[in-house]
């Protein structure tokens, strides 16, 4: 915010240059369409309320530009708001990055990143029903706020349009009650859940459903029984980091369950750049280099319900500032500081970020250059209606993905794709009937090390205590693997049937 204030002060003496600047916008070589005039007009209108851009600021923007798409985002926002969905906005118009100059624009800059992520990757389509994973922290709070605003705008457009062809996507909010795995004051916790409920209730209309689901619900409807089993499973995991990671995997299972049971079609996480930077190092340190690329994209459709990360380009500092700027109320649930390896990495990244404010983005950019998987693309909707409706605004970025796609098999615990060389073939795996040893073989080496117990007897026990969704996943992935192997050799096998007939 410091730079914002000083630049704004610089503004004041130089407003006289405005007409010159506007005239120059078109000469600067990047204007390719006739939209220029209209664009400039729009901007003049905008400027009546915004600080004026100057040459000096252009320079400072140029130097502070960090290679991300914030500038592009800015003009996109302007265009879509003013020109109401005109398609000629692909051009890169030199933007006045006013976003840094006033609170409103700081805000719209971040919203722009969100919006850009959503629109360019088709994260939300009008027919969707979006479940926001809410923790009460600043990141998910901002995510919720932005989704709400986007929904509100869609609702307004819907109300204004005559044919009402374009439906408004639905929004729900889910909180996972992890009381079973942390020792907390239950009364205190209830109070916080109540606060969250109020936050969500204040975001109506449109009305959002609010789900609070305990972790143990992944076991069955009988939650007291599930709670015991959950506690027992967690006690088997001796590694602190492994325990924390396992809880995170369970959390995702819960969100999946809520989404499936309540008819949601997307799960939206508030994962921000800073969190992803940490995850990049965490995965590296845990030997998950192969699967890392799967976790850090906007879209992660390896789950039954696709998961989207629209805040991937926002730093946690920015989100914190935004929360205080807009006085968005956040609730600190029970998560203490991260433990073990994860805790070490969090503090390391924090130090690095203090030393160089663009470090987190650099880390994420490095990892972003890794080749994503085929499931990091939004699956094509079969439904032609939704296709038509969303066609206009989607500008899908061609993600370079691995095109040679034998069916991926996944670690049943962390659901990370397994490297082909790590796969072992299973001969007689019947669905739901695999032993602890076989289960271990189906897991990635990282989970084998930090989550699964070493001794066979406790491994069997652990395997029995796992939620069925995980165990079934193991059986499923090994059957997929078998099927793939069989397909590979199919041409060389003479089947019994052929011989018979």
């Amino acid at each position: 915010m410091r730079s914002y204030i000083s630049s704004a002060q610089r503004e004041q003496g130089q407003t006289g240059q405005r007409p010159l600047r506007i005239a120059m916008a078109c000469n600067s070589g990047n204007c390719r369409s006739g939209a220029c005039d209209r664009d400039n007009l729009d901007r003049v209108e905008d400027r009546s309320s915004l600080p004026q851009p100057t040459e000096a600021n252009e320079l400072s923007n140029g130097s502070s530009r960090r290679g991300n798409n914030s500038i592009c985002v800015k003009c996109k926002v302007n265009q879509t708001m003013a020109a109401a969905g005109s398609e000629s906005i692909g051009e890169f118009i030199p933007a006045d990055d006013v976003g840094r100059f006033c609170g409103d624009c700081f805000r719209s800059n971040i919203y722009g990143k969100f919006r850009f992520a959503v629109s360019s990757n088709a994260l939300i389509s009008p027919t969707d029903n979006v479940l926001v994973a809410f923790s009460g922290g600043p990141s998910s709070r901002v995510a919720l706020q932005f989704v709400h605003e986007m929904q509100l705008k869609a609702q307004k457009n819907f109300d204004a349009s005559r044919d009402r062809s374009r439906p408004v996507f639905g929004v729900g909010v889910a909180v996972i009650d992890e009381r079973a795995s942390f020792s907390v004051n239950s009364h205190e916790f209830d109070k916080k859940i109540e606060e969250m409920k109020i936050i969500v209730a204040n975001l109506a209309p449109p009305v959002k459903q609010f789900h609070v689901v305990p972790t143990e619900s992944i076991y069955s409807s009988d939650s007291t029984h599930g709670k015991d089993r959950l506690e027992e499973v967690l006690n088997v995991i001796s590694d602190v980091t492994g325990r924390e990671d396992f809880l995170e995997y369970l959390r995702m299972q819960c969100f999946q369950k809520i989404a499936i049971e309540n008819g949601y079609t997307k799960i939206l996480l508030g994962t921000c750049t800073s969190r992803i930077a940490c995850h990049v190092l965490e995965a590296t340190v845990k030997g998950q280099g192969y699967s890392l690329a799967a976790d850090i994209q906007y879209v992660d459709a390896r789950w039954e319900i696709p998961v989207v990360l629209p805040l991937r380009d926002c730093l946690s500092q920015e989100l914190n500032v935004l929360c205080s700027l807009d006085s968005l109320k956040t609730v600190q649930l029970l998560h203490g500081p991260r433990a073990g390896i994860n805790g070490l990495i969090s503090s390391f990244v924090k130090l690095l970020q203090e030393e160089n404010p663009s470090r987190e983005s650099t880390i994420v950019r490095t990892a972003g250059k890794l080749t994503p998987f085929h499931f990091n693309r939004m699956p094509e909707a079969d439904d032609s209606d939704s296709k038509l409706a969303s066609q206009r605004r989607q500008k899908k970025y061609n993600l370079k993905v691995d095109e040679s796609v034998p069916p991926e098999s996944f670690c049943p615990i962390c659901n990370s794709p397994l490297k082909k060389s790590e796969l072992r073939s299973y001969n007689e795996v019947e669905k739901g009937k695999i032993s602890g040893e076989m289960f271990r073989d189906a897991c990635c080496s990282s989970c084998q090390f930090q989550i699964l117990p070493k001794e066979t007897s406790s491994l069997e026990r652990f395997h029995l205590l796992l939620p069925h969704s995980l165990v079934n996943q193991a059986a499923y992935s090994s059957s997929v693997k078998d099927q793939w192997l069989r397909e590979q050799i199919q041409d060389f096998l003479l089947s019994d049937n052929e011989e018979g007939t």
Partner: protein, 402 residues
């Protein structure tokens, strides 16, 4: 209560189950005895060499020897394994003398002792003879900033030139697992995807004049530190028994002489090893190059050490991640040609060392550093001039065939 029970007996080695465990193996935290540590340490390196087919029988191999703990242990282990498993390699020691007073001159003394002890031929190439400048002189001219650029570029070429002089087929370096893990991390932090894809391969520069490989790729720094320490223990007991043997044969003075000579050299050398093994760890920064506090690398190193403390396996996992990263290989490698001036491989007209050297000789030390366009133009101008007049004094070692 447990302690009372187990302490007096001492735990048995978890590998041989016979001797008392003497140390906790840093890599796995297994409690093992010295003999077993020795064996697994060497066996692992042997496996790495065999599995990756690092060498072929009859090859001439140069060991990049700095005199530090890594390369000293590497020289020892290489000659040991070469004998034991009949690799059939001709081993040489190759050192680079950067000309840094108080840092390199001391460590070179160690290498010279190694030469005698292991019976390996030693070749020292110095910056002074190759380039006409010592690092001391360069730092005097350009100051402490950017001097690592000079040192790094010069060393790379110096090693290749030394290897060419020795006519070796390969160069092995003592980079250990910690070093590689650290490099993986730094490349992530810096956003250098090209280097990230390369930095974990055990053999590099196969398309270049002399391939380099790292037999210590999976060897933990801590174990390298412990290894000579165990060595000393074994050696001291050997010394004791051979002394008995020698004194029981007093009428053969030539043996005695041999023995004293051997003992003198070895004990001095081991003494030094001991110093390295111990002091390097306790007094980490004192062995860093005096011109490079290298805060950033130190930062990453500290982090690796913290990780190792929580989870020793993390180092191997980082290397595994580095190997497994899905990096598409479409990135075009620059076309290789030879430097017009010295014949060294280069993607440009002149190799980097020649450009830097030209800057030094002309009193424009910033030449070739950074990306400033002006400087690049300047550089091209100079190259042009050089081509026209050919008056520039060439490198003292002259052109070498690679």
């Amino acid at each position: 209560m447990d302690i009372v029970e187990t302490k007096p007996k001492g735990r048995l080695c978890s590998i041989c189950n016979q001797n008392r465990a003497a140390l906790k193996r840093p890599k796995t935290l297994e409690q093992i005895c010295k003999d077993c540590f020795y064996e697994v340490f060497e066996e692992e390196i042997h496996r790495v060499i065999v599995d990756n087919q690092l060498f072929k029988s009859g090859e001439r191999i140069a060991i990049g020897a700095s005199g530090g703990k890594d390369s000293t242990v590497l020289a020892y282990v290489m000659s040991e394994l070469n004998h034991r498993h009949n690799y059939g390699l001709d081993l040489f020691l190759l050192s680079v003398d950067e000309g840094i007073t108080g840092y390199r001159d001391d460590s070179l003394e160690t290498v010279k002792r190694n030469e005698i002890q292991y019976g390996l031929a030693l070749k020292v190439v110095s910056y002074k003879e190759l380039y006409g400048w010592t690092m001391d002189e360069i730092v005097k001219l350009i100051g402490l900033k950017n001097n690592c650029t000079f040192c790094g570029v010069f060393r790379r070429q110096a090693l290749d030139r030394g290897a060419a002089l020795l006519k070796v087929d390969k160069l092995v370096t003592g980079h250990n697992a910690d070093d590689i893990a650290e490099t993986v991390l730094l490349n992530i932090l810096r956003g250098d995807i090209a280097r990230l894809s390369r930095c974990t391969s055990i053999t590099t520069g196969e398309d270049g004049p002399i391939p380099r490989c790292k037999p210590f790729k999976y060897t933990y720094e801590k174990e390298i530190v412990i290894y000579p320490f165990c060595c000393i223990m074994v050696f001291i007991s050997c010394l004791f028994f051979s002394a008995l043997l020698v004194f029981s044969l007093p009428h053969k003075p030539c043996y005695l002489f041999d023995f004293i000579f051997y003992a003198y050299i070895t004990s001095e050398n081991l003494n030094l090893l001991f110093t390295y093994a111990y002091f390097k760890r306790l007094d980490y920064f004192s062995t860093e190059c005096i011109y490079s506090p290298n805060a950033y690398r130190g930062f990453a190193r500290e982090f690796i050490k913290d990780l190792e403390r929580i989870r020793p396996r993390a180092i191997l996992d980082i290397i595994k991640s580095g190997e497994d990263f899905r990096i598409s290989m479409y990135t075009k490698m620059p076309e290789q040609s030879n430097c017009e001036r010295c014949g060294y491989i280069s993607s440009q007209k002149w190799c980097k060392a020649c450009v830097l050297l030209e800057g030094l000789n002309r009193g424009l030390p910033k030449l070739g550093i950074g990306r400033s366009r002006d400087l690049n133009n300047e550089q091209n101008k100079i190259i042009k001039q050089g081509n026209e007049t050919r008056s520039i004094q060439s490198k003292q070692c002259g052109t070498l065939d690679f």
